[in-house]
């Protein structure tokens, strides 16, 4: 009797442990278990440098979704970013999507600035107003080295 209750207790702890591991896996991996709480939106960027699947999509600093995939649009050779946005977050069709950086050297994420259009984006729709990733190194080098011609003069 004693032996079986010990086994049951151990079993319960093992199950709790496995449940915790499962929960952490789902949370840390940003996976979804039950149902589909998101809808898809697309955005085309001249450059999506540093952005990767799983990167946050934010409005006013609040996470409202994530980047699902990034691919090359074959005709214009620009980045096509597919995002998952939480259901219930409705976006106007003149919203602006910008690739931003958390701090100076942090991760890249997409910030959406809502617009004011009467028409809303439908699932599968495309945000047409976008701002690509800013190349800080490029800007710094322009600032540091400036206009070489001007310097020579």
């Amino acid at each position: 009797m004693k032996k079986s209750s010990l086994e049951i207790t151990v079993g319960i702890f093992v199950i709790i442990g496995l449940a915790c591991v499962g929960y952490l896996t789902v949370k840390l991996g940003k996976m979804e278990l039950l149902g589909d709480h998101y809808y898809n939106l697309n955005a085309k960027f001249n450059s999506a440098t540093g952005l990767k699947p799983g990167s946050n999509v934010e409005i006013a600093g609040v996470r409202v979704g994530q980047v699902e995939s990034i691919s090359l649009e074959p005709v214009m050779k620009i980045a096509m970013v597919k995002m998952k946005i939480e259901n219930g977050i409705e976006l106007e069709d003149d919203s602006i999507a910008s690739v931003k950086t958390s701090g100076l050297i942090g991760d890249k994420f997409i910030m959406i600035t809502p617009g004011g259009s009467v028409d809303m984006l439908v699932p599968g729709g495309t945000i047409t107003e976008t701002e690509p990733a800013l190349d800080i190194e490029d800007l710094v080098s322009k600032y540091v080295f400036g206009d070489k011609k001007e310097t020579k003069q």
Partner: protein, 218 residues
Amino acid sequence: MKRIIFLLGVVICITFTAVPSFSDDGADVDSLIKTSMNDVLGIARKPSMANEDKRKELWKIVQKTFDFAKITEFTLGQFSYNSTSALGEYSDRRFTKAEQEEFREVFTRHLSNTYLDRMDFKNVDVIIDLKPAEILEAKKGIKRAQVKTMINKKTPIDYILLNEGKDWKIYDVKVEGRSLVSAFRTEYKAILLKNKPKVLTQMLKDKVKEHESAKKKS
């Protein structure tokens, strides 16, 4: 610094000088943008013309060709009078049509002060690499186009145009990928979350007044 401001000024002027309407398509936009660039640079390079007269000439082109109503609407976003986005407890921050018209006037003036009045016309040797126009996906029957340029081989500047059936107009400028509309939208949203529309308009009026009185003194 002055050189950068001059370049930006030239670019904004070039932006503003787009385009009477033709049937549509990229080739028309291209040739019109080129003509506009020549006009703007022609004025900027006139040695006999006083700087103030140059600004007046450029401003005429600006007013004629830039869609300030559209840029105001896009800048105000959800606070624009014709937006139906819910504002909840901030519903008193939505502009009325009259307020928006008043805002448009002062905002236009503010843009002029920011770019045109800072041009010094001393460095007009700009190299502009103009890429072919790209016709973008139309939205609700409104034609859209984008023209990319590279100024002095180092500063990328894109112009976004729309055509609502009459003329091609530019409604956004992107310098190094950063959008003019987006920058002002973010800035003004922060103000409108704390203040009513009239306060924002008054703030801009004060800025314009301050700028003009400083101009008179100098």
